[in-house]
Amino acid sequence: MLERLNRWLDVRLGHRRWWGAWRARTLPASPSWWLTSGSLVFWLLVIEVATGLLLMASYSPSLATAWPSVSYIERTAAGSFLRGVHYYTAQALIVALLVHLIRVVACGIFRAPRELIWVTGLLSLPLVLTWAMTGNPLSGSQQGLAQVAVEAQIVGSTPGVGPTLSRLLLGGEDVGHLTLVRLYFLHVAVVPLAAAALLALHISQVLRHGLAPRENNQQPSAPVPYWPYQSVRNMTVLALVVGIIALLAWRYGAPLGAPADPDLPHHPRPEWYFRALFELRRHFTGEQELIATLLIPTAVLLIFLTFPLWDGLFGRRTASLLRTSTLLAGLAGWGWLTGMSYHRDLYDGEYQASRKQDRIWAERARALAARGVPPTGPAELLRNDPQTQGPLLFARHCATCHPWLDKHGQGLAASEASAPNLYGFGSRQWIEGLLDPERIASDHYFGRTAFAEGEMVSAVQELAAGLEGDELSARRKQLRLAAEALAAEARPPEAPPEARRAAAGRVLIAGELGCTGCHRFHSEGELGTAPDLTGYGSRSWLVAFISDPRHDRFYGERNDRMPAFAPGPDDARNLLSQRELALLADWLISQQAAPSDTPRPTPAAAPQLTSR
């Protein structure tokens, strides 16, 4: 039955003849591991197409959907693995293609009548690089879109057609929705079709002319069939490479940075295969940049393309030597430039800090995306996240005077520390320190402010003045209870012992400790002499205080140097908008919870932010 179907089909398709011809292929010499490079490139391409098609089932190109759809794919193990395979296979493909080219040069396979094999093979290298280049930004990550913005600039700097090409690529003046659609169009349609045409010509030429005989090699007595003697080697190498790819994809997956947002500081870098060009460009500035971006790569490509002509020009032996040295010089130059670029970054503290920060933001964005991305786009995730924006706002607006450093000195250093360290502000520990007669006048609190000589400092110090032994420890205990009560203003305690202590502290604040002599605390005391302690350190208290510390509810006329960040109702006239105030306050509050822990994820922001 099957045989009859096969015969029926064969009369129409003639496939048995094709299969027979394939099986009858013979090797010019004995089977070789060297010969596996071509098949490896081919099968890696097939894997790229297969995984790419699968990813297309979930991916959506546009500024608002690219990153969310990729993070959506990443959320399942299978999706993450497939994207990893797609990513690492692309890198393996570039390496395999280079190895294949080197082998072809080493074996001199481009001689007549095989010139077209060489030309199509060599042209596939820039094509595959374009393929990778159009694929990387599709994730819509900060890194990817920064890359495409730079690449568009480079394209745009080409004399004549440059600006038009750049606009075509971006789909407008700037990176936007159309940029991703255009890149997608190139990545999944134009470049694959061009690659298929090139590959078809390449393979048909290989089949037509057969594998090249090795130089200075006698023909073996009996021709060795390709199948299965060479095929098994091909498959072994492929299985090995795919094994490594699968391991990398399983273990590490493909990277996915934070979604693109021009407001987040970022140090863009190209992928490893463009690092050499990136480094080369450093040595050419201004008008000369064209030399690095256009002239040198084109010249190198042209030199390699003319390899088949060299035999006629220089004689066979000289040409062979020249080719080998050109190839080695090219590889060495490429490797040296790449190495230099990585070496430079390795010792660039600012870059390393930025990379660390990028990873923190990426992780944070992905965690937030798991709860759903707003319809306006993924950049909103980090823009509305207190954990991300809090440290940035603090560094920009507060860290001129206020440090935010834990006991290990980690965090955000102030450029000119002249105000209390706000690390853990409003927490029990922080308030305990403020109410400590020995610490209140230290640099950690009021030491560097006008209040160092003020009534608060003297009042707290007087509370302990002249006391010794049991009396002193009893006073200290009272102050700790008061701290507990004030911390409870921002965070009502959950457990009964804390709640009891806070209740006791509240009585002391209004009573024995005499705080309400100057401060208002719920129904006790008056406003206008010292900051309101009602709701101390809570969100609304912080927002009101940062908005205007000169307000009667806070320092009034005795305010030291702290600016009013939002004194009026009009956001445009204020230093901080209501949105920014809320983000800053929410972040400060979130840090009250566990102030003794090493703060996360903010310390990495410190070196970079304070250096600005």
Partner: protein
């Protein structure tokens, strides 16, 4: 003979390695495609106040939207239309009936007929009377493709605690189209 054995073994080995490589992409590929089946389910049931009783006129059906939080793959909508409901106030006792606007035939959105009192589905002209019952083809001169009457939804009149106004509260549900009987979507 030994040559033949070796050849056979190598062919078998090549096939095995090829199958292993295929499975690296194939198995996760199938899993990945099937995983989408379990993600992004519809909002099952939404109970919502959709209109003031005073806004309804007897004999004039009113189309209202039911909104809810909705997750569409990666996007989270805080408020999204998850269904449309036809409200019908009867002239006699003032009672209110609610029907989902999803046609029981193929799921198009049912609209008001030309007279503003009956219903018609724009896709295949399935027609329903003011109580959501299928109209026979003799009444419209056209084949009625609807397999069942319009799907009624649970509906009650509630009083707002603060204003004291009477509101119509509807329980939105999804039903399987194409069946002769009303079956809730699981």
């Amino acid at each position: 003979m030994q040559q033949m054995q070796r050849r056979g073994f190598l062919q078998w080995l090549t096939g095995l390695l090829g199958a292993a490589v295929c499975s690296v992409v194939g198995l996760p590929g199938v899993k990945y495609l099937l995983e989408s089946l379990g993600r992004g389910r519809r909002t099952a049931r939404v109970v919502q106040r959709v209109a003031r009783l005073a806004d309804l006129t007897p004999g004039r059906p009113l189309l209202v939207a039911v909104t809810a939080r909705k997750q569409d793959a990666w996007t989270e909508y805080a408020q999204h239309v998850v269904g449309r409901v036809w409200l019908v106030k009867s002239g006699g006792d003032g009672g209110v009936q609610a029907f989902t606007a999803v046609c029981p035939h193929l799921g198009c959105t049912i609209q008001a007929g030309a007279d503003g009192k009956t219903f018609v589905c724009p896709c295949h002209r399935a027609a329903f009377d003011a109580q959501g019952r299928r109209l026979p083809s003799s009444a419209t001169g056209q084949e009625n493709h609807a397999p069942r009457d319009m799907d009624a939804l649970a509906c009650r009149v509630v009083q707002d605690e603060q204003t004291g106004e009477a509101w119509v509260e509807v329980t939105l549900e999804q039903f399987v189209p194409g069946l002769r009987h009303k079956v809730a979507r699981g």
